[in-house]
Amino acid sequence: MNDAARYQRQILLPGIGIKGQQLLQDAKVLVIGAGGLGCPALQYLVAAGVGTIGIVDGDTVDITNLHRQILYGNADLHHQKALVAKEKLLQLNPGCTINAYPYFIDPSNAFDLASRYDIVLDGSDNFGTRYMINDICVLLRKPLVYGSIYRFEGQVAVFNYLLPDGTYSAQYRDLFPEPPAENTIPNCAEAGVLGVLPGIIGSMQANEVIKLIIKTGKPLINQLLTYNALTNESYNLAFDYTLTGKKGVPSNRAAFEDTLYDIACSNNRPLNIVSVDAAVFDTMINNENIQIIDVRETGELPLVNQFNHVQIPLSIWNEHLVNREQDILLFCQSGVRSKKAANAIASHIVNKTIFNLEGGINAWLAYKSNHI
């Protein structure tokens, strides 16, 4: 130990000591995503003296990141997050070995990246990456410290931890077996996020990583912690290993590399659009809190007079023509143009949902003719 003074305050703690500090020094942690969760997690892991840290992030620093991604400042705009993070973290603690991987993790590189580390921390921001990280950790038998956020709420858990009986604890697919359908759950880019929340959740993830390394305390094994920043309430839910979860994970490296994870850049994907089928649409047409809009051109048939709505043709469509204070329900003939219309305005609609009638008015008319 060449830097005892640096770690003196934590070496004093029961359960850590010189031995615990050495365990931290020997540990290798891969942090995926150097964003809202990754920044605070990285800072605390580096400060605590974790010996080797990998940072995977292919993104560059954007002005909208700065309110929560606290490793970065104005001077870092448009620079690679992984490289900037490495530089800042080495200033914080030059004793750490920091490996920057300035590209996105994907099925072709995940195996190599994760196999070099003992513990993986998920600080990603989209479901495709989260499922991919989970699956690679199950395949490589690495513990995964998961964290995710939505507006003022966060979730933290430890997945796939080797238990004393030789089995592994529950994983992400035991909790949520499959990714949700596209566009049903908004992320930070669409839903908004308070900067402090990922700070809290990312710090909790770092805390779990440290507990796993020094084998102290009760990590969130087979448990999901949820935290609400508005109420300060936390809620722990227990969950178990399931056969369904196990079956969801590709069976080997080749199958993993062939799996299509939806890891498209989340910032480009409006997620406040929800597709509804004719049956659901039918339950919504008399709801005064939803504005219903026909995006077909004027004069198109069939004319719709069975429920109140307005017509704003796609040819003149823009976000200023809709009431942005209300949820919006769009329809056209077959569902194609209304989806286009939804995508066109989604980034301008804050805190409201844009519903799109799948199959268009044709589908609803067919539904009505079968349900009189």
Partner: protein
């Protein structure tokens, strides 16, 4: 018979409340039906259910004073 519902994330937003009480709900299937009738947007959410802080994948009978948590996945980071 009374149960307490606790909703998280989008489910709290759709229902407009984080916690409320319901009477006379025999099991999880009945609860989901009532929720989806009252709040159709819930049908689009892939949520998990926990009874008394334990995630359950099956339809389970609800006992008096149970607390049922409705948990959507979060993706943000």
């Amino acid at each position: 018979m009374e149960i307490t519902i606790v909703a998280f994330g989008q489910l709290a937003e759709i229902t407009g409340k984080q916690s409320w009480k319901l009477q006379g709900i025999p099991d999880i299937t009945a609860l989901k039906q009532i929720l989806e009738t009252n709040f159709p947007a819930i049908k689009n959410i892939n949520y998990q259910v926990a009874i008394d802080k334990k995630i359950t994948k099956e339809n389970a009978v609800l006992a008096d004073q149970s607390t049922v948590a409705l948990l959507p996945p979060f993706s943000g980071g």
